[in-house]
């Protein structure tokens, strides 16, 4: 069977599974549609949350980010997991007790304010739409690479599949497909990683392999990696960094952003009890950690593997000599040829010696060494995103593993897209239409509205996936910045402070939102239009060395401060709101509290 047929078989079989689940888990009521009936087991929900959370970016890009950044990019690992600790202790159990369907629902009720509800809807839509574009384009890339269809067709097929199970199944269909998608993606991610780890270190567990000895040289893998890349002028992989303030703020921004993302929060509305919401957050972390503990190993090992492929003698100790003997381009391995066809690996023989020179040509201290060797610049460009996708080929694994990776990449993109689309459509049908415009709407009409909004959101996401706007690439800055600086603080204060009132919350949200957008736009351009940035986006121009990606944490602090000060000088919330806060703090009766 050809590789193409195998890929088609794996992806086709996974689609058949998702659609089968959708038919089985068809939503019959508004409660089914928004919160999967509220009866999802905490472990099931943990698994669904992990799939909901781990996007195309986690599956495809994270290992590459870690490989290129080394220690400095550990922020992604800590930030994208540490947020669940905040969620588990500060938000999820209480919002579950509150027992309604959406995040703006809580903000609108708790702050007895249409403005607050509307602001929450706007923040939710900006954050979720930015996020969903990346999923659509990610699915497009996976389709075009593995199924040889055009990017456009790939995005349309992805949209159709999501439409089938999300529109009919609602949260119920999404929950059980996400469980299936988690299983597909974790197997796909782990198998090639185990083989690479075995090959390099002899340890079958990649997370342990990362800190084990490199088989060929008998010294620790990370020491070997440091030596090899430093010999080629790259930054030391494990070295400490100088700008610690920025690293702290970046990690914190990712954490509060994670905890404030509506599509993650609503997953915790689906479990039966408050205690289940707590357990479920722990299970979600376990399932996420299975991938996140493997990713740094994949990153480091793939990078070392690439270096020793290009410079075979780097396996030994004489780096000086090894650097002079890279392989000839005509002798390059098969997998480099495959990926050259996609344009994600490119070669340019700048010094015409027929060999592949890979080194850091931006390092000025290394320039004299390069000049002495007659190197005229780095000759092999490798896109970070291919590390995971090319892993099976690099490790010479059988064709079915490649088929599995194809299905896994698509599963990661679809599961996150579906969760985001549900968050967007429920905010439209439930918060905008049912609560703000037409409260008298019947349950049947509300569900129809929810399905139409879902269909509309899918069309919008598809359109934006086909024509990605400038902000699509700024998911980390925009989605995490907004969720962290506007939604997280007001949700938390709504639970932990009875004194927090409507004016304080609105002022805090606006401050967090505007300050974060202003800082991002200053460096990345107004509405991300290239050339409209007021300051160049380089570390020496950042205020106190804070990058625009790290500003979400500062925005959150401003939000807390302004909300606190404003609420102290304005009237305390009415008694029934204080009673509401009291009731979300105590778990008893959560099962009965869903009355709509």
């Amino acid at each position: 069977m050809s590789q193409y047929a195998i890929n088609l078989l794996f992806v086709g079989a996974s689609f058949a599974l998702y659609i089968g689940i959708a038919i089985w888990a068809r939503a019959g009521s508004a409660k089914d549609f928004y919160v999967a009936g509220g009866g999802v087991h905490p472990i099931t929900n943990g698994m669904a949350t992990a799939a909901d959370w781990m996007s195309a970016a986690s599956f495809i890009s994270m290992a590459g980010l870690l490989a290129s950044g080394g220690y400095a990019n550990s922020s992604f690992l800590m930030g994208w997991t540490g947020g669940y600790v905040l969620l588990a202790m500060l938000l999820a159990p209480y919002l579950r007790k509150f027992g309604k369907f959406t995040v703006p629902d809580f903000i609108g009720d708790r702050y007895y304010s249409r403005t607050a509800r509307l602001l929450a809807v706007i923040c939710l839509i900006i954050a979720s739409v930015t996020y969903v574009i990346g999923q659509m384009t990610g699915a497009g890339v996976a389709f075009s690479r593995f199924l040889e269809v055009s990017n456009t067709w790939g995005i349309w097929i992805a949209a159709l599949i999501v439409f089938l199970y999300a529109v009919f199944g609602g949260m119920k269909g999404i929950t059980y497909t996400q469980v299936a998608q988690y299983v597909v993606l974790i197997i796909a991610y782990t198998i090639p990683a185990v083989f690479i780890s075995l090959e390099l270190t002899g340890n079958p567990i990649p997370g342990l392999g990362l800190f084990s000895d490199y088989k060929e040289a008998g010294e620790p893998l990370l020491t070997k990696l440091d030596d090899v890349i430093v010999a080629l002028g790259f930054h030391d992989y494990t070295a400490d960094i100088d700008n610690k303030l920025n690293m702290v703020l970046f990690t914190l921004s990712l954490m509060v952003g994670t905890a404030g993302l509506p599509h993650v929060i609503i997953r915790f509305f689906t479990v039966p009890k408050v205690a289940d919401a707590r357990w479920s957050a722990g299970w979600a972390l376990v399932f996420i950690a299975l991938l996140y503990l493997t990713a740094p190993a994949v990153g480091a090992m793939a990078r070392l593997n690439l270096m020793t492929t290009v410079y075979p003698e780097m396996v030994g100790e004489n780096y000086e000599q090894a650097a002079l003997n890279p392989i000839y381009y005509e002798n390059r391995p098969e997998w480099i040829k495959t990926w050259e066809e996609t344009g994600l690996i490119t070669f340019d023989d700048k010094n015409d010696d027929g060999r592949i020179q890979v080194y850091n040509d931006k390092n000025e201290e290394f320039a004299p060494v390069a000049a002495e060797r007659n190197w005229k610049g780095n000759e092999l460009y490798v896109n970070n995103d291919i590390l995971v996708l090319a892993n099976p080929e690099i490790a010479n694994l059988p064709p079915w593993v490649i088929g599995l990776i194809a299905a896994g990449g698509i599963a990661a993109a679809l599961s996150t897209a579906a969760g985001l689309l549900l968050a967007i459509s429920s905010a439209i049908s439930h918060d905008l239409i049912k609560t703000m415009i037409n409260p008298g709407i019947s349950e049947k009409s509300e569900m129809l509205t929810a399905r139409i909004s879902m269909g509309g959101s899918i069309l919008l996401a598809t359109y934006l996936g086909l024509n990605p706007p400038g902000f699509a690439a700024q998911t980390v800055a925009l989605a995490f910045g907004i969720a962290g600086a506007s939604l997280f603080p007001v949700l938390m204060m709504g639970i932990f402070s009875k004194r927090m009132n409507n004016v304080g919350a609105v002022a805090g949200m606006l401050t967090g939102l505007c300050a974060t957008l202003l800082y991002i736009f200053t460096y990345l351009g107004w509405f991300f239009i290239p050339g409209t940035n007021m300051l160049p986006n380089t570390p020496d121009n950042w205020i106190f060395g804070i990058s625009p990606l790290s500003f979400g944490a500062v925005g959150a602090i401003l939000n807390f401060t302004v909300a606190f000060l404003v609420s102290r000088v304005t009237a305390a919330p009415p008694q029934h709101i204080q009673d509401l806060v009291e009731s979300v703090r105590y778990p008893k009766g959560a099962g009965k509290s869903i009355v709509h």
Partner: protein, 89 residues
Amino acid sequence: MADEQTPKVESNDYWKSNVRLIFGCLFVWALVSYGFAILLRPLLSGIAVGGTDLGFWFAQQGSILTFIVITFFYAWRMNSLDKKYGLGE
């Protein structure tokens, strides 16, 4: 704060114990990530782990493992608090 108006003294204790527990958990949460993995890394540089130092291990694995422990610990402690105050379901 309006907390004083709570009619039931017992449930007020429940909430205070919850907040205390959260502070304890967040201390550990911050210590392993912002502490060991970032700010205190230079202090831990003497402790070697697999070709690098303990700070690097915390940044890439240790903090994630600790987060899992914290989350389950919190769920376990809170569930027994729920029972103690008769607030469980």
